[in-house]
């Protein structure tokens, strides 16, 4: 396990972190909301996948195909029925409500699934690896995760850049009042954004659940890593999130190699370092109309 291997693992881990971070970044860009339950929703998706895989002996990809649309629907309803009611009341209410949801979800998962660690049956894919030569080998699953992350980012980029709704997203993120004058209904748009966000984070959660074990309380750390990836990469930049995730991943794997208890801490310290030196992140774009 040389250093090159460690760095490569970290880069691949970045793919997973980018998946977590994308939904968070999308929501913040369009609605200026931070969903504090973001990570917990991903763990909820992971548990749902575990249930489907264990109970119905489904392949995890099939479970994903079921859970992701379900979570997207949940996101849509959450925004429509709950979070949209908080519009126009400032920044405090959405933060507090999503924080409350985070606690509720964690405790509900604890009640439903106990404190045991679980894992989505990977069906062998977690052990398959690809030899890259020079004694370097990467897991197929990590590669697939990165690939999926890139595909999601491309898809999102196409949606936001090329479609009518995507234009509406950008216009609303720029200037919600004027976007309304164009006939853009912010409430429906926000619901769509939340649906996308939760759908993507469900993918992230299930990939996490295949890769490693998780438990009812794993959500908050996911939120933190997602947040750190977004900040390191820079607000408003989708691809920056991928780079941010990669940097975070490498920091964590390198830190863990130096000393087992220092993996996550190193990630936090790198994050704080970036915050000190370049608070706008590496690829920030000043888009918002002030």
């Amino acid at each position: 396990m040389g250093w090159l291997d460690t760095v490569v693992q970290g880069l691949l881990l970045g793919g997973l972190y980018a998946l977590f971070a994308t939904g968070l970044s999308l929501i913040f860009g369009v609605m200026r909301i931070v969903n504090l339950a973001h990570g917990d929703f991903s763990i909820l998706a992971a548990f749902l996948a575990v249930m489907l895989v264990d109970a119905l002996a489904l392949h995890w990809l099939l479970a994903l195909a079921v859970v992701v649309p379900l979570m997207a629907l949940l996101g849509y309803l959450l925004q429509r029925l709950v979070l949209n009611r908080l519009l126009g009341r400032g920044i405090l209410p959405p933060i507090l409500v999503t924080f409350g949801l985070s606690i509720i979800i964690q405790n509900a998962l604890l009640e439903a699934f106990s404190a045991d660690s679980r894992r989505v049956n990977p069906g062998g894919i977690d052990t398959a690896s690809l030899a890259l030569g020079g004694g370097l080998a990467v897991g197929w699953f990590s590669l697939i995760t990165l690939l999926v992350a890139i595909l999601v980012l491309i898809g999102l980029q196409l949606f936001i850049g090329r479609t009518r709704r995507g234009r509406a997203f950008r216009a609303t993120a720029d200037d919600q009042a004027t976007a309304a004058l164009m006939g853009i209904d912010d409430r429906g748009l926000y619901a769509l954004a939340m649906a996308l966000s939760l759908g993507i984070v469900a993918i992230a959660g299930i990939f996490l659940g295949v890769r490693t074990t998780f438990a009812f309380g794993s959500g908050p750390d996911r939120l933190l890593f997602a947040f750190e990836a977004v900040i390191i990469g820079g607000l408003g930049s989708l691809w920056g999130t991928l780079v941010g995730g990669a940097i975070l991943g490498v920091a964590q794997t390198v830190g863990a190699k130096l000393s087992p208890g220092w993996g996550i801490l190193t990630g936090h310290l790198v994050f704080l370092g970036v915050l000190l030196v370049r608070p706008q992140g590496l690829f920030a774009r000043q888009r918002r109309r002030d």
Binding site: I33, G100, L101, N107, L110, G261, F271
Partner: protein, 335 residues
């Protein structure tokens, strides 16, 4: 067109409230002489949570700083107590305010980092820093790593003496916090603070130094939270990083303040009572307690954002701890 007017602060309810508060404190002071140790410990816990809630309320409800990282100072205060009392040999009870000071000192570099953020990102930033503190402590051998440490400095004391001293210290902390915040808000600084909460740009044009105001409040809250953390672990005697830096401290205080009413002094008191009553009722149902509490907080936020106390105050116009100033004009109402 000069009119006679007075700036009024006290209301009838506040005078009643003041009287009731004095009575309550007097009654609570006699507790060690007739209550059992378990009740005393419970009350210490209650007061601790109340002070934590007041501190969080000061930050979010008055300064507009929504922090979900206050657990950092609970943990720092607790560990500071251990180090001061066990390692440095200081008196454990005197170490409590010192622990608060240490927490406030560490809040300075924290603020330097997290004040770069606003709103939701500020919140997550404070949490990230709390996690850093937790992990640093969990990786430090001298602090007991993941298993934590036990407060040994109090062992020489007789158990009753220790429990009574802890109780009175907690009571003193609770009173000091309440009085301190009340006085603070009524002072000119407090006025500036509430102006900042209501509108930062407007208050800046009026000459309020927004950054300095927020920083001072953040440091004060860190001090209060740190001192409370020390009292908590004086009470519990056993500290570990996962418990001391746990987000459930913040979750509990947020729920208390939201349910009771953000931005008022009476709100956290009401909320803390609801919190404890619910805890007793749902004691046998494990995590349902948090689910119910969380659902209640979310519902309150959606439907009655001013909280329980806000509802009461609105219906009856009561302010027990008034920090507003009302202008009473001696004139007939204008159209």
């Amino acid at each position: 067109m000069a009119q006679a007017f007075r700036v009024q602060r006290a209301t009838r309810a506040s005078r009643v409230g003041l009287g009731a508060a004095v009575l309550a404190i007097a009654a609570l002071s006699t507790l060690p002489f007739w209550a059992d140790p378990a009740s005393m410990r419970r009350l210490v816990e209650f007061i601790a949570l109340l002070v934590l809630a007041q501190m969080w309320n000061l930050l979010a409800g008055y300064a507009g700083l929504l922090s979900i990282g206050q657990q950092a100072y609970v943990g720092l205060g607790g560990y500071a107590l251990i180090v001061l009392a066990d390692d440095l040999g200081l008196d454990p009870f005197l170490s409590v305010p010192l622990a608060g000071l240490i927490a406030a000192l560490l809040a300075l570099p924290t603020a330097a980092l997290v004040f770069r953020f606003q709103g939701g990102y500020f919140a997550v930033g404070t949490w990230a820093v709390a996690e850093v503190f937790r992990l640093l402590v969990a990786n430090t051998g001298a602090l007991g790593r993941g298993t934590g440490r036990t407060l040994k400095a109090v062992f020489p004391l007789a158990r009753e003496t220790r429990e009574m001293a802890t109780y009175y210290l907690a009571l003193a902390l609770g009173v000091a916090a309440l009085v301190g915040i009340y006085v603070f808000l009524r002072a000119r600084f407090g006025l500036g603070l509430m102006a900042v909460r209501d509108s930062e740009p407007a208050s800046e044009t009026l000459g309020v130094d927004v950054f300095r105001t927020k920083l001072i409040v953040y440091l004060l809250a860190a001090f209060g939270t740190g001192a409370t953390g020390a009292v908590i672990y004086l009470n519990l005697l056993r500290i570990s990083p996962d418990a001391a830096f746990s987000i459930s401290w913040t979750a509990s205080t947020i729920f208390i303040v939201v349910i009771g009413g953000i931005g008022t002094l009476e709100g956290p008191l009401v909320g803390a009572v609801v919190f404890f009553v619910l805890r007793e009722l749902l004691a046998d149902y494990g995590s349902w307690y948090m689910i119910v509490l969380g659902t209640l907080a979310v519902s309150v936020m959606l439907a009655y954002p001013q909280g329980l106390w806000g509802l009461i105050a609105e219906s009856w116009g009561i302010h027990c701890f008034p920090v507003q100033r009302r202008v009473e004009v001696d004139d007939t109402p204008r159209p």
